[in-house]
Amino acid sequence: MGATGGLTLVFGLPLAVALFFFALSAYERRMGLATGPGFFQRNGLAVGLYLVLAVGFWVFFVIVLPQFSMVDMSFRPKLPPSQMGGPKDVFTLENYRYFLFGSTTSTASWNWIHLKAFALTIGVSIAITLFNFALCYPIAFHMAQSAGAARLRILLLLMIIPYWVNEILRAFAFRVLLSSGGIINKLLLGAGLVAEPIDFLGADIGLYMGLSYAYLLMMVFPLYSAIESLDRNQIEAARDLGAPWWHIHLFVVMPHAKPGIASGCTLVFMLCAGALAAPLVLAGPRTLWFTPIVYDRFYQAFNWPQGAAYAFILLVTCIVFVLMVLKMFRLSLGEITR
C-alpha cells in the first residue's frame, strides 16, 4: 500500500460512506419516503454520535479495512520495510503462483505438498461436518421435542461444561486418550486385541477425532434451537397420517430445521477448515493441514505477503462453502446467523 494512497483509503472510505448515508437520507426525506425524526433527532446528539462512531470504528477499522489490506498485501512482493511503497512494490501474482507451483517464478512443477494439504483440509472438513450432523441430529431432536423440562436442563448443563473448555485443552484430552501409552491403547493391549500400541496420532485419526469433538456442540445448539421452534402437533399430525419415522424426519422436521442445519454445517466447516489448535496438538509429523502452513508462512518463513495469499485462499473457500450451503438450502444469510 502506498503511503498516501493507503491513508486516503483509510480515511476516505469511511468519509465516502458517511456522505453516502447523508445523501441517501436527504433523498428519502425529499421524496417523502422517510418521515419522522432524523437519526440525530431520534437518538439525541450524544447517543447518535456514540452509535455512529462505535459502528464506524467497528465496520471500517476492525472489519473492512483489515480484510482489504490483507487482500492487498497478498498481491504484493515480499520486501524489506525500507522498500515498501517504493518502485519495487508492484502488483504481483507471485504469492498465488507459489501456492500452485512451489516457486514464485517457475510454473514447471506443482506444489504438491500445499495443494494436497489444502484439498485434504477441505475434504476432511466436509466429512467431519457430515459426521457431526449425523451424530448430533438425534440428540438435538430429542432435546427439542421429546425431553421433559428437567431432563432438558441436565442435558444442556452436561453440554455447556465441555463447551467452555478451550480448544487446546480439548485437543490435549485426545492426546491423553489416544497416545501410545494412553488409556485406549492400554485397553486394547490388555484385551489382547493388538500386540503393539496403535499410532492413532501418527495416522491422523487423533486429529480428525479431535476436530469432530471440538466442534460437536457447534452443531448441536443450532439444530436444537431450530427444531425446538417446530410445532409438536405437526409431527403428531404426520404420525396420525401414518407416516413412518424416517419420513417424518426427512419431510417434516428437517425442512423446518433447515436454517439450523445450514447454520450448524457452516459453523463446523468454517471452524474445522480454520482450526489451528487441534492440528498443532494432535497432528503427527507427516500430517498435512492447511492452517499450520499458513501460520508458518507468517512466523517461520516470515513471508507475510505469501501468508496473506494463503489466508485469502482459505477465506474464499469458506465464502464459497457458505454460499453453496445457502444456495443448496435456499436460505438467506440472515436466516442462518440467528
Binding site: M31, G32, L33, T35, G36, P37, Q41
Partner: protein
C-alpha cells in the same frame, strides 16, 4: 381562554398515501372530545400529530393558542395513553407514575408526595411498590391514567385504551374515565372505533373516514342528524335505499326508488333530479300486515326472513322486491313470523335524505 387544541388545515401524508386531509377543528378547554371512525381512517395519525410524534405535512396544530410546529412530543403540554398502555415493566407502579416528574427534575420528596396522592385518587394506594406485571387489566389502566395525569397536561390523549379489557370492565371504565375527566377538568381527546364508547362519554364527537373529518357534533346530533352517508351508516344501524329526488317541499323531499316513491327529510337541501340516499333507522320502522291502512307512514312490502328475539327488542330482517335486506327493530307488540309478508312503514320525518357520493 384559548381553545385547548386547534387544527388549522392539517394534512398528513406518507409518500403517496394521504392519512389526514384538511383537518380543521377547535377543541374547547375542558371538553371530552372523541374521534370516531373505522380502523385506518386516520384518527390515530391525527392523535399522534397532536401529541407531536408526527409533524403535519401541511397546516398547523395549536395547543392552548401556541403553535406547536417543531416542538417535539416531550415538550408539548399533552399526555398520551397508549393503546397497549406502554407501562414500563422494569419500574414499580409508583416509579411509573412518577416518571414524568423525575425527568422534569422535580425533587424526590415533592415527587413522592404527588405520586402518593395520585395513587389514592386511582384507588391503588396499596400497590405503589408492586411491579406492573402484578396488576390486573383494570389496575394497569388506572396506573396509565395516573402516570399521564402526574405531569399535569393541558390535554390528555387516549388511544383506544379500553380495547384490551373485558366487556363488563370496559363499561365500568367508561364511567370512571368520564368521572376522572369531570374531576380534573382538563381536555380529554379520545380515539375509538366503538361508537358506544364515543356516544356515552363524549361532549362532542368527530366522525372520521378515509382521512377526512366528516362531521363534528354532540352524540345526539351525529346519531340523529348525520350530514354524510358515511356518518349515517357508521354511527348506529341504518337502512339505506338509493333513488332520485323528484319533488322538494317544506323541508321534505320525495325520492323515486325501486321500491316506489318514498318521502324523507331533506336537511342538506337536495333539489329535484339529484341522486340521493334515503336512510331509515331500524327502530323507526313499523311492521304491519299488508293491506292494513296506515295513514301517517310511507313504505313498501317485504318478506320477513329472520326474526331474532333478544328480550327487550326483536330484530327482524326482511327481504324486499329488489332483493335488498332491510332490518327493523321492534320494541314489543305482535312479532311477525318468518316467511310472513309485511308492510314496512315509517314516518317521513324519520327518513333522511343525503346526497349520494359521486363515485364509490
Amino acid at each position: 381562554m384559548a381553545a385547548a387544541v386547534e387544527l388549522d388545515g392539517v394534512n398528513v401524508t406518507f409518500g403517496d398515501f394521504i392519512a389526514v386531509r384538511d383537518a380543521n377543528l377547535t377543541i374547547e378547554a375542558g371538553e371530552f372530545f372523541s374521534f370516531l371512525g373505522p380502523s385506518g381512517c386516520g384518527k390515530t395519525t391525527l392523535l399522534r400529530t397532536i401529541s407531536g410524534f408526527i409533524e403535519p405535512t401541511r397546516g398547523t396544530v395549536r395547543i392552548g393558542g401556541a403553535d406547536m410546529s417543531g416542538i417535539g412530543p416531550n415538550r408539548r403540554p399533552t399526555a398520551l395513553i397508549f393503546q397497549n398502555l406502554a407501562l414500563f415493566p422494569m419500574m414499580t407502579v409508583a416509579e411509573n407514575i412518577g416518571y414524568g416528574l423525575r425527568v422534569r427534575g422535580v425533587p424526590r420528596h415533592e415527587r413522592d408526595e404527588k405520586v402518593k396522592n395520585l395513587l389514592i385518587q386511582v384507588a391503588l394506594a396499596e400497590h405503589g411498590h408492586k411491579k406492573v406485571s402484578e396488576l390486573s387489566g383494570g389496575q394497569k389502566q388506572r396506573v396509565a391514567i395516573a402516570r399521564a395525569l402526574a405531569v399535569e397536561p393541558k390535554v390528555l390523549l387516549l388511544d383506544e385504551p379500553l380495547s384490551a379489557l373485558d366487556l363488563k370492565l370496559r363499561q365500568h371504565m367508561r364511567a370512571e374515565l368520564r368521572a376522572i375527566q369531570k374531576r380534573v377538568g382538563i381536555t380529554f381527546i379520545y380515539i375509538t372505533h366503538d361508537q358506544g364508547e364515543a356516544l356515552t362519554m363524549s361532549d362532542r364527537i368527530a366522525v372520521m373516514n378515509a382521512g377526512v373529518i366528516e362531521q363534528v357534533g354532540n352524540g345526539r346530533s351525529v346519531y340523529a342528524e348525520p350530514r354524510t352517508p358515511f356518518v349515517a351508516s357508521f354511527v348506529g344501524e341504518n337502512n339505506q335505499i338509493r333513488g332520485r329526488v323528484t319533488a322538494v317541499e317544506n323541508g321534505l323531499a320525495t325520492l323515486d326508488t325501486p321500491l316506489g316513491a318514498l318521502v324523507g327529510r331533506n336537511p342538506v337541501g337536495l333539489s329535484a333530479g339529484e341522486e340521493a340516499l334515503l336512510f331509515v333507522r331500524p327502530e323507526a320502522l313499523s311492521l304491519v300486515p299488508t293491506g292494513t291502512p296506515n295513514g301517517s307512514t310511507v313504505g313498501f312490502d317485504g318478506e320477513a326472513v329472520d326474526v331474532a328475539y333478544e328480550g327487550s327488542v326483536t330484530h327482524v330482517t326482511l327481504r324486499v322486491r329488489t332483493g335488498q335486506k332491510i332490518t327493523a327493530t321492534l320494541g314489543g307488540g305482535v312479532l311477525p313470523a318468518s316467511g310472513e309478508t309485511l308492510h314496512i312503514g315509517f314516518r317521513p320525518q324519520d327518513g333522511l335524505l343525503l346526497a349520494r357520493p359521486a363515485s364509490r
